[in-house]
């Protein structure tokens, strides 16, 4: 099986919030209660859990297309940037050159992408018609997927959130 059906989710937290140091450190965990999670208040932890939640949802959304999230991302970038090279895609998506090779090979083998020679060793990548159709389908599903999560979020807050997230990694 090539795609996961459920969430991958590394470490996560629980409902309960904890006042720092409010709890006697020597007290053992009460048997029936939810365990306290000291990571709850960390930005990194929250980002990771949130990211994993969305990634797994998107993975499920794309599963029946036999497309992994990474493959879909590459397809979309090629669609938006015809004749882009592997290396350039790698730079845009932060995928190493090395890892772009089997990715591209796979997409070409499936007839979604065409490798064309340009200058030097660089290969100009373009979507084939089936590739373009698949990207259109992906866009629909991504929209549905995003909407599911954005629904929880007041419209007024969305732009601010995106800006804050951009600031985290594009600092």
């Amino acid at each position: 099986m090539r795609h996961r059906k459920i969430a991958p989710l590394l470490h996560g937290g629980h409902k309960r919030t904890m006042a720092p140091k409010a709890k006697p450190p020597t007290a053992a965990t009460p048997k029936g209660s939810a365990a306290g999670n000291p990571l709850e208040q960390l930005l990194g932890y929250q980002l990771r859990r949130a990211s994993q939640a969305m990634m797994s949802d998107l993975g499920a959304e794309l599963a029946d297309l036999e497309l992994r999230v990474t493959e879909m991302s590459v397809l979309m970038v090629i669609g938006e940037n015809p004749d882009i090279t592997q290396s350039e895609i790698g730079r845009v998506l932060a995928i190493q050159r090395t890892n772009m090779v089997p990715l591209t090979t796979q997409l070409e083998r499936r007839g979604l992408v065409r490798r064309g020679l340009t200058t030097g060793r660089a290969q100009a990548l373009r979507l084939t018609p089936p590739g373009r159709a698949l990207v259109r389908e992906c866009r629909k599903r991504i929209a549905a997927h995003e909407a599911r999560f954005l629904a929880e979020l007041p419209k007024a807050q969305r732009a601010a959130l995106m800006q804050q997230l951009r600031g985290v990694w594009q600092a």
Copy 2:
């Protein structure tokens, strides 16, 4: 080598923002310019990039302790919840029972965690004194790591951001 030194970072974006459909779809990518990234405006994409940025930074912060982020998370949960069981940690951090086994074994082998028998098959986990010391060191480093990223973010926005992130995966 057990730890990565640099960012893992799957797909990422570029500085430039694009107005939807503002660009003629048939135009080839200009050679010298940055490629447009159609994922830029997706919440899932921003979450992933932000999460990866923080994960890789934290990984570097913990590298010389020979601790991976996952291991550190488990240690901190045990520290906060003495006599917790493997399964319970798994539920808190969203790590499968199966994957908790080698994790716990490794931490016990290093003398950071002690397995004690309680009721049934469940094993009560506790930090050893070296384990507690290591957790204290981790807390310091995590604080520094978090501060690096939070510095970009106005204080007034922090609580709201955390709440929004919680909403994404705890919906």
